[in-house]
Subunit: 331 residues, 4 copies
Amino acid sequence: MQLGMIGLGRMGANMVKRLLRAGHACVVHDKSLEAMAVLEKDGAVGARELGRFVERLAAPRVVWLMIPAALVDDAIAELAPRLAAGDIVIDGGNTHWPHDIRRAKELAARGIRYVDVGTSGGVWGLERGYCLMVGGDKESVARLAPIFDALCPGLDAAPRLPGAERLGSAERGWLHCGPAGAGHFVKMVHNGIEYALMAAYAEGFNLLRHADAGLSARAANAETSPLEHPENYRYEFDLAAIGELWRRGSVIGSWLLDLTAQKLAEDPALSQFDTKVKDSGEGRWTIEAAVQTGVPAHVLSAALFDRFASRGEADFEGRVLSAMRRAFGGH
Amino acid sequence: MQLGMIGLGRMGANMVKRLLRAGHACVVHDKSLEAMAVLEKDGAVGARELGRFVERLAAPRVVWLMIPAALVDDAIAELAPRLAAGDIVIDGGNTHWPHDIRRAKELAARGIRYVDVGTSGGVWGLERGYCLMVGGDKESVARLAPIFDALCPGLDAAPRLPGAERLGSAERGWLHCGPAGAGHFVKMVHNGIEYALMAAYAEGFNLLRHADAGLSARAANAETSPLEHPENYRYEFDLAAIGELWRRGSVIGSWLLDLTAQKLAEDPALSQFDTKVKDSGEGRWTIEAAVQTGVPAHVLSAALFDRFASRGEADFEGRVLSAMRRAFGGH
Amino acid sequence: MQLGMIGLGRMGANMVKRLLRAGHACVVHDKSLEAMAVLEKDGAVGARELGRFVERLAAPRVVWLMIPAALVDDAIAELAPRLAAGDIVIDGGNTHWPHDIRRAKELAARGIRYVDVGTSGGVWGLERGYCLMVGGDKESVARLAPIFDALCPGLDAAPRLPGAERLGSAERGWLHCGPAGAGHFVKMVHNGIEYALMAAYAEGFNLLRHADAGLSARAANAETSPLEHPENYRYEFDLAAIGELWRRGSVIGSWLLDLTAQKLAEDPALSQFDTKVKDSGEGRWTIEAAVQTGVPAHVLSAALFDRFASRGEADFEGRVLSAMRRAFGGH
Amino acid sequence: MQLGMIGLGRMGANMVKRLLRAGHACVVHDKSLEAMAVLEKDGAVGARELGRFVERLAAPRVVWLMIPAALVDDAIAELAPRLAAGDIVIDGGNTHWPHDIRRAKELAARGIRYVDVGTSGGVWGLERGYCLMVGGDKESVARLAPIFDALCPGLDAAPRLPGAERLGSAERGWLHCGPAGAGHFVKMVHNGIEYALMAAYAEGFNLLRHADAGLSARAANAETSPLEHPENYRYEFDLAAIGELWRRGSVIGSWLLDLTAQKLAEDPALSQFDTKVKDSGEGRWTIEAAVQTGVPAHVLSAALFDRFASRGEADFEGRVLSAMRRAFGGH
């Protein structure tokens, strides 16, 4: 079938390639002519202007937006007047799900369908396929099934589990999760989990790296407690080898571990990487949703706050603590 | 080569089976005659008495202990007088690593070598192979390499990573991590990570399960804040399908997710499982090691404390909080 | 000066009493005739109908709302048409500060001033005075100073600190914190801190209560690690005496500790109090604000999630963890 | 009565002063002649040599050690041979309580009594009095009561609570908490609570300081989520005034807040204080005790790990996270 893609960054461009490979027709639009040119070579039809882009799509149209979440509302505002009842707009970016609920209502007034797709897979999706978490009305999602089937990894991407056959397309790597916003909600929680998985490995490797604490002396005075048993902390571990080791047979094997092992193999000190860690919105929204619904999220929140702290945002907290210590103890 | 195994529980018995399959000779000892009988059918030589067990091993002997950590010291006390210089004792259980350091010293006085092996793989190890984290002297570990190679998953168990070829046996699933205790130290951190990975998924699925909070009314009064936007929390997610979905193409795919998806596929409410979660020692020791070395472990510790709290150990904390609320607010 | 109070619950009624004692004139309104009757005996003027209530206030009017946060918008909707330009509406409840920003704008269109007051002090405020965190325009706040001075604890309530004299009314217990919403923002963070202070004591007392762990046996098996040194955990502490002890000379003395000590003195087991702990909105909003602004809040969030967990909201998390343990270890 | 004090640092010297003021006789010993000279002016008897120190004490002797915890064992080793049955040795420092249990046993073999005293009060203790948490045998503690009564703050230091009269000396600020180690155990938990109280305020003030986040622009791109409602974060709070404000009438008033307010009044930016925060042993041991006894300590542990992270100990964790992000997302 035919699909129009707006936004040809890393994600959007690769998705178009995967769709083209599967035999779907793609009309593409991006402010970068170069990005369009690359895909035109692969068989996509480029359209510099939004009006042209819409014209080249056969009704009922399918338009997939793969752009920064902050720009989606503006893009829809430009696009909607050019669309017709029965057309489908898909937001495949990292949108906060309440916006999906609002937009679905707003577009419904024009007869336009809105589908939200949480997309996982990163730069690897082109080859591995994308895990797609879909929200929207049943009819629209059913219409889009061929698209999702082309983008998703497919059944062979993981060993089949007994009983999973009744879970439908989930077994291939895409799922209609529920009404508007459901896709981005599930993707949000997915990323909340991702942050915590990452932090679990990162805290663990950090601890392994400090297993040599007993090799350096620690002063004993009223303020610092000496390492009680330095003889127990004299290991200089090969983190690259341990990362590799855990990939086979262990309980903690995962795709994230594969990636970590790869990076550690390249440079066990990871010296080229920043100690300051960025975060995008989903990790934050996950905590907000937990707070709103009254669900404990000790682990998920700790992972998020670790990132904030990595960026120096706890510095003033430190000053307050040091000031208190000075005040009561003269430290 | 030949190996003696003491302890034929789930882990020990399966390891013997895997060794026998690989052509190694096994002498086995357990208080359960039945457990021995099963393995004798597979070709192992059983020995009811410890003296006989040792006699049937050719010097220099290799004895692998696969018994509860709390029983290892007693077992070594019985065993050591029957062994000779050059023999190797392996502790493959969940031992706190400082015990390894002590034991290695104690046994060295008799010329006996001590090797600690952290073993991951659980009941799946028989088929998948075991991930082995090994501590001890180089010579002993080198001598045991054929054993480890038979037990570990092997190179094919995961896709090869560029540059990993220089990591030696780690690529097959076993690693000489360092001197005495190094194996159990790495295994300990492995389990600390495991707890946090598990908690990440568990908190995430719990949040998904509460995404329907807006469907039930929440009273508005001075004490309870109403759900601010109930319209955003009206999802009734199919957790089994979502667990399955994330197995393909997503960033959070892992072996633990595979297991979770399997359990959710069997019963999405997991109603047969206890809300109270047990823990063994490694998760605890990980936090103690972090505390000793001054390494932040916000995420790893939260996962452990979640388990403690699941068992009602925070109940008195709750009473103190409720008492305070009564005291200042009359709540 | 004259003030109209709407809402004569515990907080509102006591504030009126304190204002009357200070010589201010109070017009009061509540759906409970009984609540009004009590205050009329103290000199307040009661008004059953809202119209009457407004009539009895001399322009420019001051109306203080002391009602559940969820009801404030409705109350303002009823009230505003009866007010005139120059009148001041005060929200003294537990409002989410963005509502203050919105309301201040809405009321400004009618020339009505809006002042938000975060109020701390609970049932003790009548005697101790209330700590008042005020947001709004300078002119309105200046006009209300006599009211705030009557409600606040006053300079004598705490020892004077050197240099604090330049902090103005803060030294007496009320402060103009900033424009609309500033009062409730500061009150929100105040409560976020309150939750964590409470949890600090509660976790500490809970730990003291478990200091007898070594007196009861703990089984040693593959799944449970035995208490390593039971001889170190044989204390049966008198929590009431310890609570009292810490009130004098220690670094952790506080008003919350005073209250806790009182409750422990009455019943060291706190058996009448629920293990399930409620929370109102401010603790939640604090975490949301931290998440929005990218500020680490490991401690504040842990205190909130402890409460959620106390109410059983982590139960499904526990089931997921138990299911995983069964899946990989056969536990 | 007579007491010998070894260790005339800030704490020991001030305690001697307080004892002298109360009419007790003090023999003092320190490697610093200057420290001894100061106290000799106040009426203490100085002894340069340990032998002389012991000679000047009348049997049965009372020797109080106020020295770094790491040095106590050596000091006792020197001291014990010079003491006689019936003498009492007190460790008033920050000792890990299991050492108390061991020492009490070791000294009992010589008929020497051992008493552990957890001491809170810091540099303020001279004037405020010290909160004393005492462990040891009943008879020894009874004998020392006059000493404790002189050091403690006394009944007037806090308002009396109904029912507290039956709590004995706890009301004056010292308590016999239990057998050997009980004093330091209670002091340890006290400090664990202290860390969390401090972190609660520090995180709260840090959040207030970032309440101006909406005043500076935050870029909107695929990696950074924009502040959703910048208009809600435009407060520039006067932290000094807020610290002062909360001291009167609020639920979160405390001695620690008094100290914080004082420091903020001196310099609201606290620019002279380090962002890196030290910790001594008790906060760590508290977490270890919680881990050992299976007691949840989400809040107490978060406070400790905040300090570790403040010192850059999470830096490698950050590198691991950044490496993962690069690996899967090309970020």
